[in-house]
Amino acid sequence: MSDRKYAFSWELLGDISSGRPHLGLTTRLEVYRLMQFVLRDVLERHLGTKKTDEIFYEAGKLAGTEFYKKYLGAVTDFNEFIKNLQSQLREMGIGILRVEKADIEKGSLILTVSEDLDCSGLPELDYEVCVFDEGFISGVLESFTGKRFRVKEVDCWCTGDRTCRFSAEVVE
């Protein structure tokens, strides 16, 4: 598609430092969630729940891929990669990533994210909502391994920091 208006690039985000000399690099988290949840609302009304989740997963995956390229590239050791990912997510206030199980040879991981940007503090629901996170994790893992991953939020619990548990399995 040559006439695209929104093909992602980091340049689109602009020079935030010089653009916000007084307000700085951060904003209140509710503004971020406001945008995300109203987007879900409108997308769902136009496209339905399933398609909305698919779009969020795909957008998360693109975010994970671009995030990997910008912040995590040039590491070949898996443990080093995980350490860098943990460090970046924490430093940027995205979430606290912990590893419950990681068998990169078999392509099987169980990860948890606490104090998550998208969902921590949400009421515990009967369904999982972190589809953007699922896509993000799959994008990062695929970029590192070169293999396709299917990531699913398998559990979440509201203990104050609402931790989400994700399973990631390589797709043969």
């Binding site: 443990n79 350490k83 912990r98 590893v99 515990e124 559990d155 619990w157």
Partner: protein, 338 residues
């Protein structure tokens, strides 16, 4: 668990409450043998679900207490969340410990209170100890490498010294022009052979030979050509005698050969071959081709047992035979006593 098997349907609210408390209390406090809620209590709204959740939490906690972190807790809510948080932390701790075991000492725990402090302190101590050990190992490796280098240098020096000694030894025993033994070393070697022959009762022969009219070669062709003639004659002599024959430069243009296990006839043959070869071999030098001849005197004897001072006699007899060869016309082999 002690639960009422059947309660009266018309029991008072207090009795019913008491039974519910007893059932829940048993779930918390006792070893349950029957997980079923009494039939009449299952009709109480919400109680079977609560009881079921309590049983799930029991099973989960018992599994975790037994070290099994793989049990899945399928309940939601705050208590379930807290337990899942604990499970998740313990699993993450296991993973972190594996990372530390693999050498990643940057791992830190920040979610388990006092244990985190103790654990992190242990990792830092381990890191520091291993770092210190590594530094010591590197220091030892460095010292070891220096020692190996020093040993290498010393070995080279020793080798150079050995070669130097060998070179001096060769210079001391050989004639620098022709490369064969000098007269002094010939006597040492011959002494050894005579003792062996005396022990074994074997015979020995001595050949004395020199180049006829060698002074003329020097005078006519120069000393460089004279030296070349000496070298070529020796080269041919080396090829005609056996490897265990002792060939030496006796002095000037005169040579001596001691032939172990040889009598007069045995010695005469190589002497004759050499004479003929020299006679027929032009030596090409800077000033043209030179033909020389040689004269030979041969002596031999079989020393008696214990008779070791015979070398003088053998040389003297060979020398007289050589004299006879000269006197009778040169370019010939004369046997002593013939």
């Amino acid at each position: 668990m002690s639960l009422p098997d059947s309660g009266p349907p018309s029991a008072s609210p207090d009795d019913l409450a008491s039974e519910i408390v007893e059932a829940l209390h048993a779930c918390v406090q006792s070893r349950i043998t029957d997980e079923k809620l009494p039939e009449h209590l299952t009709r109480i709204a919400g109680l079977p679900e609560l009881y079921s959740e309590l049983l799930l939490i029991r099973k989960f906690l018992l599994a975790v207490a037994g070290g099994d972190l793989s049990t899945e807790l399928k309940i939601k809510g705050y208590l379930g969340g807290a337990l899942k948080t604990l499970q998740s932390h313990l699993k993450h701790l296991s993973w972190q410990t594996q990372m530390i075991a693999g050498g990643d000492f940057t791992q830190r725990v920040d979610f388990m209170g006092d244990f985190s402090i103790a654990f992190n302190s242990m990792v830092e101590r381990l890191d520091s100890t291993l770092r210190s050990l590594k530094e010591k190992e590197e220091e030892l490796t460095r010292i070891n490498n220096e020692l190996l280098h020093e040993i290498g240098v010393r070995k080279k020096v020793e080798e150079a010294l050995r070669k130097s000694e060998e070179s001096f030894r060769q210079l001391a025993i050989t004639d620098s022009l022709t490369g064969i033994y000098n007269r002094r070393h010939f006597f040492q070697m011959a002494d050894h052979e005579i003792k062996r022959a005396s022990r074994n009762g074997s015979s020995l022969a001595v050949i004395m030979f020199d180049i006829d009219f060698f002074k003329r070669v020097n005078d006519e062709y120069g000393h460089a050509s004279g030296d070349l003639v000496l070298q070529k004659v020796v080269s041919m002599a080396r090829e005609e005698f056996r490897s265990n024959d002792i060939l030496a430069r006796y002095g000037g243009e005169e040579f001596v050969v001691l032939l172990p296990d040889s009598d007069l006839e045995d010695a005469r043959m190589p002497a004759e071959r050499l004479r003929e070869r020299i006679e027929g071999t032009p030596i090409v030098g800077g000033k043209g081709s030179i033909l020389v001849t040689t004269s030979f005197g041969v002596s031999a004897c079989r020393p008696e047992s214990g008779e070791i001072h015979i070398l003088g006699r053998l040389i003297r007899d060979a020398d007289q035979a050589l004299y006879e060869a000269k006197r009778s016309g040169r370019n010939r082999v004369v046997l002593a006593g013939s």
